[in-house]
Symmetry: none
Subunit: 210 residues, 4 copies
């Protein structure tokens, strides 16, 4: 029975390294952006030879796709759970906002930002991992529709425009410097921005403001 153990050990090590690689990718992406992230630098930082990197991911693009796919899966797994039917549409959307943007460092949001804005890469990635992205986007869309039907949100604004605004206004990249300077916490900033967005689409104000 030593074989399976051995194999799963190897497999475990492999996955651990893959994790390590993806971790480094995250760092470098955040520092340098997509185009300036070189396979050499990733390999060096991981502490492996460049060839080894290619044992895990056959192309740079594959590596990046894997990275973002994983990132989006994390979000999806958080938001894919059914929410109570009596929950307001806004509350449901707030759950999604937190899944997407509320990690302590604010990295998640920055990465999504890079994903959505990385020039040429964007197109390819969207083709390859459209599914996961679409599923997230569809979820948001359905809650926005629901909110309009329930008269939570302004029915005069096209849902598709609400959807686009959801992703652009809530992206924390824009607000990055604020919580990096320490003036506001990441959480504070997100709360204010949510308030702007939801009031903007006709939603209610948080209780504390009444």
């Amino acid at each position: 029975m030593s074989r399976p153990v051995h194999r799963s050990l190897k497999e475990k090590q492999r996955q651990e390294r893959e994790e390590l690689i993806l971790h480094v990718v995250e760092d470098v992406l955040l520092e340098k952006g997509y185009r300036d992230t070189s396979m050499d630098e990733i390999a060096n930082r991981v502490g492996i030879a460049k060839g080894t990197l290619y044992l895990h991911f056959a192309k740079k693009e594959d590596l990046m796709v894997a990275f973002f796919e994983r990132e989006m899966q994390k979000i999806l797994s958080t938001i894919d759970q059914p929410l109570p039917a009596d929950m307001s549409a806004q509350a449901k959307l707030e759950v999604i906002v937190h899944a997407m943007y509320s990690d302590p460092s604010g990295k998640r949001g920055d990465l999504l930002y890079i994903l959505f804005n990385s020039e040429d890469f964007k197109i390819t990635l969207k083709e390859k991992s459209a599914t996961t992205l679409t599923r997230i986007s569809d979820k948001v869309l359905s809650y926005l529709e629901e909110g309009k039907q329930r008269n939570e949100f302004d029915p005069h604004i096209p849902t598709i425009i609400m959807l686009n605004s959801f992703f652009s206004v809530l992206s924390p990249r824009a607000h990055r410097r604020l919580f990096q300077s320490g003036e506001y916490s990441h959480m504070d900033v997100m709360r204010y921005v949510e308030r702007i967005y939801f009031r903007g689409i006709g939603g209610r104000l948080p209780v504390e403001d009444l």
Copy 2:
């Protein structure tokens, strides 16, 4: 006394060419994005030698900085005129929105988008041309403050957060596909997004919605 004349003639030609170069940069940037814009292509399209390009701008980055600097100066010159004191803060901000994003083609907005998103380039650029950007930003900031004092806008939201949201939500890039698909006009989209933003910060709804 022929020297000064000669020199200013030369100088005029020089500036004309610089204009031409920056014009071409706009085209190529919009077509290909920052990273895929090569010095070769710019020189070719302008009809000058690559070396000549480097007489005007010592580095690719300098060229890009100059381009965006000029772009922001255009905006600044439009919004720098004093507005009637009895104009509402929101109306004043709408003037700025239109200066920034409302050219018929939507090019301006796309360029600002490229500017704000061009990976590593962004950081450098902000260092070099912070002044102009700051002056635009200060203008927006002062109108936001004014609006809060006049009770047009929600005083509970920090102005700095309103400011950041102003730039992120109103960026038309996010909505690009919408008016490129023809579903909505550029103007329609901007109107809806403005509505979301201004209502979001506590502003009034446009008259038509009352």
Copy 3:
């Protein structure tokens, strides 16, 4: 006394695997040529690890040398049997031609072709396995000499030139497309080419042509 048995068992397995490897090499060589035959592919097709391949052959080149060496040994063993003394020199040479080039598929000829033409590889190979090649070549040489003495072949042509021409004109690779297109059978082509060669060196025409 169990050791020798064990060892010879191991040895037998080893040789069987070596056979298997060389078989696979044949396939891949024919499909891809020398340079595009990778150690990875060979190991995969054999079903062993790449490291194991290197236990048998220390370098890619060694593997190739071994393969061609064996190929030539096969030819040698066929042509090494003594032929009837009253057989004409031409008939004897035709036996060799058939040993070298006449397998149903035409594979043998293609392999010799690859051997003789594999760019840099050729030189090294000739050094390492000159012996077997020389023995084949000597056989041909002796029959050519014999034919000249018996007045079968033109005594004015240096035997060494006859020898070189023997290998070049009879290589079926040159004629490959012909029998691959189906216009002529492999056998037809070989017969015509033999006719050209033997008449060329002064030999008789086949009976059917008289």
Copy 4:
């Protein structure tokens, strides 16, 4: 009028260097074969930077195609002149043989040999420069047909097989070592091989042999 002069000077230098590059390509190809000829080595031997090589030829393949195209054009220009109608077919073919294979060094033949045998490269090249190659081949074909009609050559042998044999038997690569060892001159070897070929296809013997 200095401009045209200047330009043609530049152009001249450009062509001179292109010549130099193609010369180096010839050397390296003969030494290492197609696959082992690297752009780095070519550039180094020419004494220019790698990038400069790419100013002349956009891809390795283009460089190789250019090289072989030029080589074949040389042959074509020699054999494309009309020959006297009363010349025998064999004499006409001998003109072609000399054009193809009779340079003092025997390099030409070796290069054609590399061209015809360079594994993957062959296919691409044949596509790109099929025309020139076809024109040479057609010329040979037409003379062979002519010879058969005039009863110079054996009408029982298919012309296409004569054609293939023409290129394979007369390739001097096979005979390289002979004249490299000094035993026979390049010219001697070619004369003997021609004799074998032409007698082989039913042609007459040279006068000296009667």
